[in-house]
Protein backbone atom coordinates (compact mmCIF):
# COMPACT_ATOMS: atom_id res chain seq x y z
CA UNK A 1 0.00 0.00 0.00
CA UNK A 2 1.44 3.35 -0.98
CA UNK A 3 0.43 6.94 -0.44
CA UNK A 4 -0.47 7.01 -4.15
CA UNK A 5 -3.01 4.25 -3.62
CA UNK A 6 -4.45 6.13 -0.64
CA UNK A 7 -4.84 9.17 -2.87
CA UNK A 8 -6.54 6.97 -5.45
CA UNK A 9 -8.88 5.52 -2.82
CA UNK A 10 -9.80 9.00 -1.69
CA UNK A 11 -10.44 10.17 -5.27
CA UNK A 12 -12.64 7.15 -5.99
CA UNK A 13 -14.49 7.70 -2.72
CA UNK A 14 -15.14 11.27 -3.84
CA UNK A 15 -16.68 9.95 -7.08
CA UNK A 16 -18.75 7.40 -5.15
CA UNK A 17 -20.03 10.06 -2.76
CA UNK A 18 -21.11 12.13 -5.76
CA UNK A 19 -23.08 9.17 -7.13
CA UNK A 20 -24.62 8.61 -3.71
CA UNK A 21 -25.80 12.22 -3.67
CA UNK A 22 -26.96 12.39 -7.29
CA UNK A 23 -28.24 8.86 -7.86
CA UNK A 24 -31.40 10.20 -9.49
CA UNK A 25 -29.47 11.79 -12.32
CA UNK A 26 -27.98 10.25 -15.44
CA UNK A 27 -24.56 8.72 -14.87
CA UNK A 28 -22.13 11.46 -15.91
CA UNK A 29 -18.76 9.72 -16.20
CA UNK A 30 -17.09 12.88 -17.46
CA UNK A 31 -18.15 14.83 -14.35
CA UNK A 32 -17.08 12.00 -12.05
CA UNK A 33 -13.72 11.77 -13.82
CA UNK A 34 -13.21 15.51 -13.33
CA UNK A 35 -14.05 15.12 -9.66
CA UNK A 36 -11.51 12.32 -9.34
CA UNK A 37 -8.94 14.18 -11.47
CA UNK A 38 -8.55 11.41 -14.04
CA UNK A 39 -9.82 10.23 -17.41
CA UNK A 40 -13.10 8.35 -17.80
CA UNK A 41 -11.38 5.09 -18.64
CA UNK A 42 -9.03 5.49 -15.67
CA UNK A 43 -12.03 6.22 -13.45
CA UNK A 44 -13.78 3.01 -14.48
CA UNK A 45 -10.64 0.92 -13.97
CA UNK A 46 -9.68 2.54 -10.67
CA UNK A 47 -13.21 2.47 -9.29
CA UNK A 48 -13.42 -1.23 -10.02
CA UNK A 49 -10.01 -1.86 -8.46
CA UNK A 50 -11.01 0.11 -5.35
CA UNK A 51 -14.60 -1.00 -4.77
CA UNK A 52 -14.86 -4.20 -6.79
CA UNK A 53 -17.41 -3.02 -9.35
CA UNK A 54 -17.81 -0.44 -12.09
CA UNK A 55 -19.38 2.98 -11.40
CA UNK A 56 -22.40 1.97 -13.50
CA UNK A 57 -23.05 -1.14 -11.48
CA UNK A 58 -22.57 0.74 -8.21
CA UNK A 59 -25.07 3.37 -9.32
CA UNK A 60 -27.61 0.67 -10.21
CA UNK A 61 -27.29 -0.80 -6.72
CA UNK A 62 -27.56 2.64 -5.16
CA UNK A 63 -30.75 3.31 -7.14
CA UNK A 64 -32.24 -0.02 -6.18
CA UNK A 65 -31.39 0.66 -2.53
CA UNK A 66 -33.19 4.02 -2.76
CA UNK A 67 -36.14 2.32 -4.42
CA UNK A 68 -36.25 -0.30 -1.66
CA UNK A 69 -36.32 2.50 0.89
CA UNK A 70 -39.07 4.46 -0.85
CA UNK A 71 -41.19 1.35 -1.39
CA UNK A 72 -41.25 0.59 2.31
CA UNK A 73 -41.40 4.09 3.75
CA UNK A 74 -43.78 5.92 1.39
CA UNK A 75 -47.00 5.19 -0.51
CA UNK A 76 -45.36 6.37 -3.77
CA UNK A 77 -46.41 4.24 -6.74
CA UNK A 78 -43.90 1.82 -8.24
CA UNK A 79 -43.84 3.90 -11.41
CA UNK A 80 -43.07 7.10 -9.51
CA UNK A 81 -40.42 5.31 -7.45
CA UNK A 82 -38.83 4.22 -10.72
CA UNK A 83 -38.56 7.85 -11.93
CA UNK A 84 -37.57 9.16 -8.50
CA UNK A 85 -34.48 6.97 -8.25
CA UNK A 86 -33.24 7.74 -11.74
CA UNK A 87 -34.41 4.91 -13.99
CA UNK A 88 -35.57 6.05 -17.42
CA UNK A 89 -37.76 3.01 -18.11
CA UNK A 90 -40.19 1.12 -15.90
CA UNK A 91 -39.30 -2.15 -17.60
CA UNK A 92 -35.58 -1.69 -16.89
CA UNK A 93 -36.36 -0.72 -13.31
CA UNK A 94 -38.47 -3.79 -12.59
CA UNK A 95 -36.04 -6.13 -14.35
CA UNK A 96 -33.08 -4.66 -12.47
CA UNK A 97 -34.96 -4.70 -9.17
CA UNK A 98 -35.93 -8.35 -9.56
CA UNK A 99 -32.39 -9.25 -10.63
CA UNK A 100 -30.86 -7.52 -7.62
CA UNK A 101 -33.45 -8.11 -4.89
CA UNK A 102 -34.93 -11.40 -6.06
CA UNK A 103 -38.54 -10.23 -5.97
CA UNK A 104 -40.71 -7.61 -7.62
CA UNK A 105 -41.02 -4.09 -6.22
CA UNK A 106 -44.63 -4.81 -5.25
CA UNK A 107 -43.71 -8.01 -3.41
CA UNK A 108 -40.85 -6.23 -1.65
CA UNK A 109 -43.20 -3.44 -0.54
CA UNK A 110 -45.53 -6.04 0.98
CA UNK A 111 -42.85 -6.83 3.60
CA UNK A 112 -44.01 -3.77 5.53
CA UNK A 113 -42.56 -0.46 6.70
CA UNK A 114 -38.93 0.11 7.66
CA UNK A 115 -37.85 1.74 10.93
CA UNK A 116 -36.05 5.10 10.70
CA UNK A 117 -32.24 4.77 10.82
CA UNK A 118 -29.59 7.35 9.90
CA UNK A 119 -29.47 7.78 6.15
CA UNK A 120 -25.87 6.68 5.72
CA UNK A 121 -26.54 3.39 7.52
CA UNK A 122 -29.65 2.81 5.47
CA UNK A 123 -27.61 3.46 2.35
CA UNK A 124 -24.81 1.15 3.34
CA UNK A 125 -26.83 -1.72 4.77
CA UNK A 126 -29.97 -1.73 2.68
CA UNK A 127 -27.98 -1.63 -0.52
CA UNK A 128 -28.07 -5.13 -1.95
CA UNK A 129 -24.65 -6.70 -2.15
CA UNK A 130 -24.72 -7.63 -5.80
CA UNK A 131 -26.59 -8.92 -8.78
CA UNK A 132 -25.55 -12.55 -8.88
CA UNK A 133 -27.13 -13.90 -5.74
CA UNK A 134 -30.64 -12.93 -6.78
CA UNK A 135 -30.49 -14.56 -10.19
CA UNK A 136 -31.95 -17.88 -9.04
CA UNK A 137 -34.85 -16.11 -7.42
CA UNK A 138 -35.35 -14.01 -10.52
CA UNK A 139 -35.37 -17.12 -12.71
CA UNK A 140 -37.94 -18.74 -10.43
CA UNK A 141 -40.12 -15.65 -10.63
CA UNK A 142 -39.81 -15.55 -14.40
CA UNK A 143 -40.78 -19.21 -14.71
CA UNK A 144 -43.83 -18.63 -12.51
CA UNK A 145 -44.81 -15.69 -14.70
CA UNK A 146 -44.79 -18.00 -17.72
Amino acid sequence: MSRASEERNRAMLRARDAMDARYDQRLDLAALARLACCSESHLIRSFRATFGETPHRYLQRRRVERAMHLLRTTPTSVTDVCWAVGFASLGTFVRTFVRVVGETPTAYRARGPLPPVPACFAMAWLRPSGFGEAEDAAAALASRAC
Binding site: N9, L13, R14, D17, A18, D20, A21, T50, P118, C120
Partner: protein
Protein backbone atom coordinates in the same frame (compact mmCIF):
# COMPACT_ATOMS: atom_id res chain seq x y z
CA UNK B 1 -23.39 -1.53 35.29
CA UNK B 2 -22.07 0.80 32.62
CA UNK B 3 -22.89 4.45 33.21
CA UNK B 4 -21.58 6.32 30.18
CA UNK B 5 -19.52 6.18 27.00
CA UNK B 6 -16.46 8.37 27.48
CA UNK B 7 -14.06 7.90 24.55
CA UNK B 8 -14.58 6.79 20.98
CA UNK B 9 -11.55 6.07 18.80
CA UNK B 10 -11.31 7.26 15.22
CA UNK B 11 -8.41 6.42 12.92
CA UNK B 12 -6.88 9.44 11.19
CA UNK B 13 -3.86 9.42 8.92
CA UNK B 14 -2.29 12.64 10.20
CA UNK B 15 -3.01 14.03 13.66
CA UNK B 16 -2.04 17.63 12.85
CA UNK B 17 -4.35 17.61 9.86
CA UNK B 18 -7.06 15.98 11.97
CA UNK B 19 -6.66 18.65 14.64
CA UNK B 20 -6.97 21.37 12.03
CA UNK B 21 -10.13 19.79 10.62
CA UNK B 22 -11.97 18.75 13.77
CA UNK B 23 -11.03 21.79 15.86
CA UNK B 24 -10.17 24.49 13.33
CA UNK B 25 -12.98 23.71 10.88
CA UNK B 26 -15.71 21.79 12.73
CA UNK B 27 -15.33 23.77 15.95
CA UNK B 28 -14.61 20.96 18.41
CA UNK B 29 -12.24 21.63 21.28
CA UNK B 30 -9.10 19.81 22.34
CA UNK B 31 -9.67 17.70 25.45
CA UNK B 32 -6.14 16.28 25.70
CA UNK B 33 -3.07 16.62 23.52
CA UNK B 34 -0.24 14.78 25.22
CA UNK B 35 2.99 13.23 24.02
CA UNK B 36 3.12 9.82 25.65
CA UNK B 37 6.40 9.01 23.96
CA UNK B 38 5.10 6.00 22.10
CA UNK B 39 2.07 7.88 20.85
CA UNK B 40 0.37 11.25 20.78
CA UNK B 41 -2.79 11.02 22.85
CA UNK B 42 -5.07 13.45 21.09
CA UNK B 43 -8.73 13.73 22.01
CA UNK B 44 -11.32 16.31 21.00
CA UNK B 45 -14.92 16.89 22.00
CA UNK B 46 -17.94 19.02 21.30
CA UNK B 47 -17.59 22.09 23.58
CA UNK B 48 -19.51 21.42 26.77
CA UNK B 49 -19.70 17.67 26.22
CA UNK B 50 -17.76 15.07 28.17
CA UNK B 51 -17.55 12.37 25.47
CA UNK B 52 -14.20 12.51 23.69
CA UNK B 53 -13.04 11.36 20.30
CA UNK B 54 -9.56 9.85 20.24
CA UNK B 55 -7.90 10.82 16.97
CA UNK B 56 -5.62 7.84 16.62
CA UNK B 57 -2.97 7.30 14.00
CA UNK B 58 -2.69 3.66 12.91
CA UNK B 59 0.86 2.42 13.38
CA UNK B 60 3.40 0.79 15.68
CA UNK B 61 3.48 -0.22 18.45
CA UNK B 62 -0.29 -0.78 18.54
CA UNK B 63 -0.35 -2.09 14.99
CA UNK B 64 2.42 -3.69 13.00
CA UNK B 65 3.34 -1.80 9.82
CA UNK B 66 1.48 -4.17 7.50
CA UNK B 67 -1.73 -3.97 9.55
CA UNK B 68 -1.40 -0.19 9.77
CA UNK B 69 -1.25 -0.07 5.98
CA UNK B 70 -4.43 -2.14 5.79
CA UNK B 71 -6.17 0.26 8.16
CA UNK B 72 -5.01 3.26 6.11
CA UNK B 73 -6.38 1.56 3.00
CA UNK B 74 -9.76 0.99 4.66
CA UNK B 75 -9.96 4.54 6.04
CA UNK B 76 -9.31 6.08 2.64
CA UNK B 77 -11.96 3.82 1.10
CA UNK B 78 -14.48 5.11 3.64
CA UNK B 79 -14.86 1.61 5.04
CA UNK B 80 -14.31 2.38 8.72
CA UNK B 81 -16.48 4.09 11.31
CA UNK B 82 -17.94 7.54 11.31
CA UNK B 83 -19.15 10.29 13.60
CA UNK B 84 -22.69 11.54 14.12
CA UNK B 85 -23.17 15.05 15.42
CA UNK B 86 -26.29 16.99 16.31
CA UNK B 87 -26.96 20.64 15.64
CA UNK B 88 -29.84 22.98 16.34
CA UNK B 89 -29.55 24.60 12.90
CA UNK B 90 -28.51 22.21 10.18
CA UNK B 91 -28.71 24.72 7.35
CA UNK B 92 -26.55 27.27 9.18
CA UNK B 93 -24.02 24.53 9.92
CA UNK B 94 -23.95 23.47 6.29
CA UNK B 95 -23.51 27.11 5.18
CA UNK B 96 -20.70 27.68 7.67
CA UNK B 97 -18.83 24.53 6.61
CA UNK B 98 -19.23 25.40 2.97
CA UNK B 99 -17.84 28.88 3.64
CA UNK B 100 -14.83 27.22 5.24
CA UNK B 101 -14.20 25.22 2.10
CA UNK B 102 -15.31 21.79 3.35
CA UNK B 103 -16.20 19.40 0.52
CA UNK B 104 -19.94 18.83 0.90
CA UNK B 105 -21.25 16.25 -1.56
CA UNK B 106 -24.87 16.74 -0.49
CA UNK B 107 -27.14 19.45 0.85
CA UNK B 108 -29.26 18.96 3.99
CA UNK B 109 -32.04 16.45 3.32
CA UNK B 110 -35.22 16.02 5.34
CA UNK B 111 -35.61 12.46 6.64
CA UNK B 112 -37.97 10.62 8.96
CA UNK B 113 -35.85 11.48 11.97
CA UNK B 114 -34.90 15.07 11.07
CA UNK B 115 -32.74 16.91 8.57
CA UNK B 116 -29.14 15.92 7.98
CA UNK B 117 -26.20 15.87 5.62
CA UNK B 118 -23.00 13.89 5.36
CA UNK B 119 -19.44 14.55 4.29
CA UNK B 120 -15.92 13.18 4.79
CA UNK B 121 -13.03 14.23 6.93
CA UNK B 122 -9.75 14.72 5.01
CA UNK B 123 -8.97 11.00 5.32
CA UNK B 124 -12.26 9.43 4.25
CA UNK B 125 -14.10 9.00 7.58
CA UNK B 126 -17.79 9.70 7.30
CA UNK B 127 -19.16 12.62 9.32
CA UNK B 128 -22.88 13.25 9.63
CA UNK B 129 -24.64 16.28 11.07
CA UNK B 130 -28.32 16.11 11.96
CA UNK B 131 -30.96 18.41 13.30
CA UNK B 132 -33.53 16.15 14.95
CA UNK B 133 -37.16 16.62 14.04
CA UNK B 134 -38.56 19.12 16.49
Amino acid sequence: MLTSLTITSLYVLDQDQALDFYVGTLGLEVATDADLGFMRWLTVRVPGETREILLERPGPPALDPATAEQVRDLVTKGATGGLFFQTDDVQATWDALRAKGVELPEEPVERDYGTDFGFRDPFGNHVRVAQPRG
